[in-house]
Symmetry: none
Subunit: 135 residues, 4 copies
């Protein structure tokens, strides 16, 4: 259903490589078009609490086909989607989750990264996303 294991592993590998370049320890998750886990990697000594967050970021990005940080803008107090995070068994709406599209622009899955600042989480997720989109 969408992304293949080969593509997912390519995304994991690219994100892992980017993490090494940045000197950060990440949890990296890739889900398919059904928002179910396809591949996952936790780097040695990465935060344990980021395991669940990385998977939830990937799911959130696919649930709404947008970067997790975009959803977070609307979930703040007073926002139109306030506290949407309690749905779906828990959403994560800060940066680090991105939909993955194939070469035709169709969403085939998503990647979620957690383990450092949200900026670095996003940068690593982007490296993984591009590895599939460019193939």
């Amino acid at each position: 259903m969408g992304i293949t294991l080969e593509q997912a592993q390519a995304a994991i590998q690219a994100a892992h490589q980017k993490s090494l370049e940045l000197g950060v320890k990440m949890n990296i998750a890739v889900v398919d078009a059904g928002a179910n886990l396809v591949a996952f990697a936790r780097m040695d000594d990465a935060w344990l609490g980021s395991l669940d967050i990385s998977i939830k970021k990937a799911k959130t990005a696919r649930f709404f086909d947008m970067p997790t940080g975009d959803l977070g803008k609307a979930s703040q107090p007073g926002g139109s989607l306030f506290n949407i995070e309690v749905s779906n068994g828990g959403l994560i709406t800060f940066p680090g989750g991105l939909p993955i599209t194939d070469s035709t622009g169709r969403v085939v899955g998503a990647i979620g990264v957690s383990g450092d600042s949200v900026e670095n989480d996003h940068t690593v997720a982007e490296a993984g996303r591009v590895a599939v989109a460019d193939r």
Copy 2:
């Protein structure tokens, strides 16, 4: 896997003693490096709702290797980690949870305390933490 039962019980005992000094009734939980419970004590007539909170504080402190209150600063509305609390089956991000390091500085577990003001929760947790760190 990290903290021993003997160390965990020493932390509980020190935190209990500090609670008696302060005249507060606490729930005190200690988890190991895998964030799994090692020792627990609920003082007579302590808030029942604080049982789960004390365990979640200990887990949260180990999940991210930082005081729970530090995480809470980033999870406020508009913060970079808004609503991170919905992850990992529920995080607690106000003070009262602290990582426990051994004499070499390695994180071997964490302590979580709940039952009074967050200031007192933190003070009691610190007493427990020190009992292990100083051994």
Copy 3:
């Protein structure tokens, strides 16, 4: 509500001592009359999966004021309580959980032990139970 922390810790200590005598590594949990955790200890290198089981045994014993093994006799296929284990967030109905009564015979809590054979689990739980009942 029922058992005091002092009593619960006495039960834990007696059960721990019995475990050392038997050469087994146990998870030991004590709940109060409300079936909420009062004290807990996990011995070094005890099975990780027995953490939850010890707490569930203690809760189960208090939920029905009987040894967990007794309940298990009625929960077998064809029995009157078949698959009762799925209730209450999960019951454990094999031996190792015992109600704790005070000197007047009133149930004040329960103890649950897990980490070895069900016979040894029961023996250790009994050592903890007696430490309170005899006081």
Copy 4:
């Protein structure tokens, strides 16, 4: 905390390779000594329901440091551990989960495989286990 990502990915790769040889489509999960996920791969068109089962098999094998099928022998009706499966958020006690030891014999994690017959699940898990044990 036990197994490294490099070891876990070696286990996944070996299990994947064995699955291709057998012509089966598997979900393959590896957890560390704390029973937390380290690496995961779902082969294209593998059963979706086996995703959760593979992770639960890996956790179960580490929770009790034994092959999941061994636990299942004791959890049958009339057995000493009847319905243990309701604990720990759900255990899987049929074959396909194996503890992973390092070269010194220490348990560093576990592998869980699901997607075909339990015999094939076990065979694939064994291929993954050996890839780490032999390094």
